[in-house]
């Protein structure tokens, strides 16, 4: 059934009010931005996530988590998107947990993640455009370990992380390493992004790591992380789109121009109705991808590309329509709608843009 089951709805019923309240723009995004918090999110909220069982949502029960899947993680992420709640949930509780599961690293890190203490980041992109097959960072065998050399960027939360999963190329191809942020030779430049989140540029200058820093060779752990990250980002984008859309619909009903609510103007009605359908479609495509991932289906890879491409494209339309339909007030920092546009732009690029994924959907 391509719909949430009862357990998943219960989760949604729990998360939705929590995120709308504790995770609201006023309490989180706007607050941390205005006080120029170096992390771009609140550690207190991350611990709250832990108490609610969200941080360990994908961690196996044996390791203290809930042992749930991508569908459940996406339920959380849609609410995160809807409220623009800043947190390391996507990078840590989703992508990192998927990368480390069933590896020797799981025991070392899952407890901290479940508690809402550990923050993990992924260092994958090396240029302005996501393209993991072009990773050039080298991991050269040296003694009982490896030496990493290269540059990374757009490593979300890396400046606040306890653990940086780093993709590099060994003599055997792609590999993923668990690197400590205080490693010698690793330089971190924390950058504030458009949506007030933080992502680091990282320079690896002869960074030595032990052999057991290797999470896995071959593209399996990296691709697990990416699939989970992309499907999760798609769900967050659906949430961003839905949040912007709901705020805009309320405005259309309330705002009057020429003595009529602007929602009564047919041109706006048709655009809103079109957008409604697009958001529904993006949500369905995203749920499909999550379900297939949870089933371990071969078709999951394409479905994830479709979800990220479609959700990105739809969220872009949603925020554009939202700002335009709000008119001048939407251009002010005082109004929340602009934050949706900023967040959309960042999640759009995260783990690959819609154009990247559209290409991969038909060729990859």
């Amino acid at each position: 059934m391509l719909k949430l089951n009862d357990d998943q709805r219960m989760l949604q019923d729990t998360v939705r009010p929590f995120m709308a309240d504790e995770g609201s723009i006023t309490k989180q995004l706007r607050h941390w931005r205005d006080i120029e918090c170096k992390d771009g999110f609140g550690h207190g909220l991350w611990e709250e996530f832990g108490k609610l069982g969200l941080t360990g949502i994908m961690v196996p029960e044996a390791q203290g988590g809930s042992g749930l899947g991508q569908v459940e993680a996406n339920v959380v992420l849609e609410e995160i998107g809807r409220n623009l709640t800043p947190s390391p949930f996507l990078t840590t509780a989703v992508a990192t947990v998927r990368a480390l599961e069933s590896t020797a690293h799981a025991d070392a890190h899952f407890a901290g993640i479940v508690e809402g203490k550990t923050v993990a980041a992924l260092a994958i992109d090396e240029g302005p455009h996501h393209d993991p097959f072009k990773i050039a960072m080298t991991a050269t065998r040296s003694g009982n370990g490896f030496v990493l050399n290269g540059n990374k960027q757009f490593a979300v939360h890396a400046g606040s992380a306890d653990l940086i999963l780093t993709a590099a190329r060994t003599e055997n191809g792609l590999a993923l390493f668990a690197v400590k942020p205080d490693a010698d030779g690793l330089t971190t430049e924390n950058v504030t992004l458009t949506d007030s989140s933080k992502a680091a540029r990282l320079t690896y200058d002869k960074v030595e790591v032990d052999a057991d820093a290797l999470v896995g060779e071959g593209d399996a752990p990296l691709m697990r992380a990416l699939a989970a990250g992309r499907a999760g980002a798609a769900s967050e984008l659906v949430g961003v789109a839905a949040g912007a859309f709901e705020m805009t619909n309320a405005y259309l009903r309330e705002r009057k121009q020429f003595d009529q609510p602007i929602g009564s103007f047919q041109a706006l009605q048709h655009r809103a109705a079109h957008l409604y359908g697009e958001i529904e479609i993006a949500r369905a495509a995203t749920l499909k991808a999550a379900q297939l991932l949870d089933e371990g289906a071969d078709r999951a890879a394409r479905a994830v590309h479709v979800a990220k491409a479609k959700a990105g494209q739809v969220a872009r339309l949603a925020v554009q329509e939202a700002v335009q339909m709000h008119g001048g007030i939407g251009m002010t920092d005082e109004h929340d709608i602009g934050f949706y546009m900023k967040r959309q732009a960042v999640v759009d690029e995260l783990f690959g843009s819609p154009t990247y994924h559209a290409r991969m959907a038909v060729s990859g």
Binding site: L2, Q260, S264, F265, Q269, A285, A309
Partner: protein
């Protein structure tokens, strides 16, 4: 299988269109009050029992199909000509086609989930699904396709009197009577309720005068189900739903030639047509309720067309081949993303319907998105075909099939309620936008 091959009621071209057929009961919310389908007036389903019974049903069904389906009817359909429409004047393509329709009609398996007292198969949802699966697995063709099955039947089950059900439904099930639909009128267009075909009360009968348009296959139909005006006091509340014989005195039809070159529709004229009062469905002046029910039904079917060749259809990007046009390739990639996403939406929508969780106006969204997507698909097929696709009358192009199909899709967003009408319905009923 959720996606099944059934000819779309306004289908015009060679290969059968696909429609979404939901074999599980529709929800009340989704498409009206199909109470009987939820069991309220449904007879106790046969064979609804433990899995072992269903397995037995499957085995028996398979055996029966193997014994009764002629070999010729177990080959794929090649064109619209292969469809069996039934009716008084139907020219069967072969003895096998006739035999297949009759044997299935006798068993009620042309309409497996209709109650058996009305000529149906009386099967439960699970059994119906098994029948379809076995038919598919053996490659059995659909024995009978008709607007009677897809449209009038469900309406009669919902709104007909016991007498009407007994009179008309078995004829439909057995393929004896072919029906057409008399809704649209010249000048009314999207404003369907603005119809003016008049039915005057003459005591024991109505006297019908007026004109319909877009009557699918009216020139081949035996009977018509028709919206008429019985009162001018209220626009929607003055409409009635009549059934009558197309051979009645005063009925004439004229085919309409379309831009695709085909003529699947007619103009239909009524000049003092006498219709006995027992051929009124539902109450007088309550025909709009019946019409709305049928329109919702039609939209769901049409929305399935967005899938193009259906769920299993190949992606457009596979048709790109070695065409060296990166911009066209980009359009195709984006289309495939949209098409695959819409396929998921279709799946989700059907699951929502089954669970009774779909918004009643959701079919409008689906119809809009699906038909716009299908139009785009054919625009891209034309672009992929280049000048080959522009040929209109050559053997090579199969009589211009690609171009004609492309032109035919332009009607998708007009028939069954225009895209503009659907968007308005979504804005009003789902988004609760204020009236203008």
């Amino acid at each position: 299988m959720l996606i099944d091959e059934i000819t779309h009621p306004v289908a015009e071209k060679c290969l059968p269109f696909r429609k979404v057929k939901v074999h599980e009961p529709f929800s009340r919310v989704a498409i009206g009050s199909v109470a009987f389908q939820n069991g309220a007036t449904h007879p106790p389903p046969k064979g609804q029992g433990p899995v072992t019974d269903l397995e037995q049903f499957r085995a028996e069904t398979r055996a029966w199909l193997e014994a009764n389906c002629p070999a010729e009817m177990r080959t794929p359909m090649n064109s619209e000509k292969d469809i069996c429409w039934g009716g008084r004047h139907f020219e069967f393509q072969s003895e096998a086609q006739k035999q297949w329709m009759e044997v299935m009609g006798e068993r009620g398996w042309t309409v497996p989930d209709w109650p058996s007292e009305y000529g149906g198969g009386g099967l439960s949802a699970e059994e119906t699904k098994i029948l379809k699966q076995e038919m598919k697995s053996l490659g059995c063709r659909s024995p009978l396709t008709s607007f009677g099955i897809s449209m009038l039947g469900p309406a009669l089950l919902q709104f007909g009197t016991e007498e009407q059900k007994k009179r008309y439904l078995p004829q439909i099930a057995r393929g004896e009577i072919r029906w057409c639909q008399g809704y649209s009128e010249p000048g009314a267009g999207s404003d369907l309720a603005g119809l003016s075909t008049k039915a005057e009360d003459k005591g024991d009968h109505y006297l019908v005068n007026g004109q319909k348009v877009w009557t699918s296959y009216a020139d081949e139909a035996d009977w018509i189900f028709c919206l008429v005006r019985t009162s001018t006091e209220s626009k929607h509340g003055g409409i009635s739903f009549l059934l009558f014989d197309m051979e009645s005195e005063g009925v004439s039809t004229k085919p309409i030639k379309l831009i695709s070159g085909y003529s699947p529709f007619c103009e239909t004229f009524f000049d003092d047509v006498k219709v006995p009062k027992d051929q009124l469905v539902h109450e007088e002046n309550k025909g709009w309720t019946v019409a709305k029910y049928l329109l919702g039904h039609e939209r769901e079917m049409i929305s399935g067309m967005g899938l193009g060749g259906g769920a299993g259809s190949s992606l457009l990007s596979e048709a790109l081949g070695d065409i060296d046009d990166p911009i066209l390739a980009a359009d195709v990639a984006r289309f495939d993303v949209d098409a695959l996403a819409y396929q998921s939406m279709m799946e989700a929508f059907i699951d929502q319907l089954k669970a009774g969780e779909a918004h009643p106006a959701q079919p409008s969204m689906m119809k809009y998105a699906g038909t716009e997507l299908n139009k785009k698909r054919h625009e891209l097929l034309m672009a992929l075909g280049g000048s080959n696709a522009l040929e209109w009358e050559s053997e090579r192009s199969n009589g211009g099939a690609k171009a004609r199909d492309w032109l035919r899709t332009k009607a998708n967003s007009i028939e069954g309620g225009t895209s503009e009408i659907q968007l308005g319905i979504v804005a009003k009923h789902i988004l609760q936008m204020p009236g203008a």
